[in-house]
Amino acid sequence: MVSAGQDDAEDETREGRNGWTIAERTTFAVSVLIVVAIASVAIVQHFSRPAGAVAAFEISIADDLVERRQDAFHIPFTIRNVGAVGAREVTARFEVVPAAGGQAVDEVSVTFPVLPVSGSETGMLTITDDPADHVISGRVESYLVP
């Protein structure tokens, strides 16, 4: 059994679709805030990006944190995107050259699926030559930008 008051209430609720109930107004206001906030971040990011922006990378090799396990040396490294655009398929190439000079005795390539702006990834190089007698250097060989 439905009371007259409940009937009125239901009618007013249904009429809310023609007008606006407080609940609908609140949802709408919060929705506007959310969409505007997301759009604002994108707009600010777009205008804070310099024209002709490119990806740029910084590779740091932590040769003071070398770990020796059996006959291999494990060297942690970090690659960071310090440019203004994100990059995909970033391939870094590391070379191991004798400290006395000469040709590279070892080469390692590592590919990272994605490096967003200001993003960084860490990895571990595994080589058989003693890092104490060699110079290890890394550079980004290739990458894709969206």
């Binding site: 009125d8 679709r17 959310i34 969409v35 994108a42 699926p113 967003p116």
Partner: protein, 294 residues
């Protein structure tokens, strides 16, 4: 008094619309969020393209809202524009929540990455929200039994006490879970998520999964909700049914992971646990959809 009651009813209806929209969106969008391409694209997409995607999402939602509508009322006119905006916002919130519990948005990430990933993931979710009303029929008249009023409810209740009904629902849960799992279990994303998720995120993911599936079956006003609430069988209590269905989904998830060689006797048990919890979310969502279909 009538005004206060109307407003209370208005809030309740609004909450139902929001929950139904969000759960409908997760039904459609969850499998896509389990792809690394979405994470990669979201992290590298230029800001201008993020804006373009937002506009496209709004336009698509507007079309869907005009066609189907995600609210219970008739709406129309200016309401279509506001509904499409709310659909977009709900998708942003749903995508954000899902990406946070899956650790695809982390504290300390640059803001642009989070926004990019949310917007890329929000498009399919928003379509699910916009067509939530058409996705699965409303509560009122899916089956003959339900449309016959109280008598029908009693009939359903008595049916629910019969073991075959429970078996049917468990079977539907397993079938729905299987449907979602076959799409996700063979991919490398499950392993990747399982290894990257911090341990404390796993209980949060379990809780999120239970809340979403409870929302789909018992709050969103999809098919059979009133019958389920009225049923008194052992597995028909909302909390029990949600928990048991989740367990069934986990078993199905584990089975498909094993079938595709993602886990096996040699796999570390912690990794197995994490992988099963990770696939448990889409599996349980599929299971909930399966239960709505019977």
């Amino acid at each position: 008094m009538a005004g206060i009651a109307a407003e209370k009813g208005g809030w309740q209806q609004e909450a139902e619309d929001v929950v139904r929209g969000m759960t409908g969106g997760l039904l459609i969008g969850t499998p896509l969020i389990y792809t690394s391409e979405v994470w990669t694209l979201g992290a590298t997409i230029p800001p201008l393209q993020v804006l373009l995607l937002l506009v496209v999402a709004y336009a698509l939602n507007l079309g869907c809202v005009v066609w189907a509508g995600f609210r219970q009322g008739a709406g129309g006119g200016a309401h279509h524009f506001s509904d499409a905006l709310e659909t977009t916002a709900l998708a942003i919130v749903s995508a954000g929540l899902l990406l946070v519990v899956l650790y695809r948005i982390r504290l300390g990430d640059p803001l642009g990455i989070g926004v990019g990933r949310i917007v890329v993931a929000a498009i399919p979710i928003s379509l699910g929200i916009a067509i939530a009303n058409h996705l699965i029929s409303r509560n009122d008249s899916r089956t003959e039994e339900e449309s016959d009023g109280e008598g029908a409810q009693q009939s359903s209740t008595s049916l629910a006490n019969v073991p075959p009904r429970t078996l049917l629902e468990l079977g539907a849960t397993a079938a729905g879970a299987l449907f979602f799992c076959f799409n996700i279990a063979p991919t490398e994303e499950v392993r990747r998520l399982a290894t990257e998720l911090p341990e404390l995120y796993l209980p949060a993911l379990i809780l999120f999964t239970l809340l979403v599936t409870y929302g789909i079956v018992f709050v969103a006003d999809f098919t059979g909700q009133s019958r389920r609430r009225a049923s008194s069988g052992l597995l028909q209590h909302p909390a029990t049914e949600t928990a048991v269905a989740y367990l069934v989904s986990l078993v199905v998830g584990a089975g498909t992971l094993w079938l595709f060689g993602q886990i096996g006797p040699g796999t570390d048990w912690e990794l197995i646990y994490a992988e099963v919890i990770v696939i448990g979310l889409p599996a349980a969502i599929g299971g909930a959809a399966g239960r709505l279909a019977v």
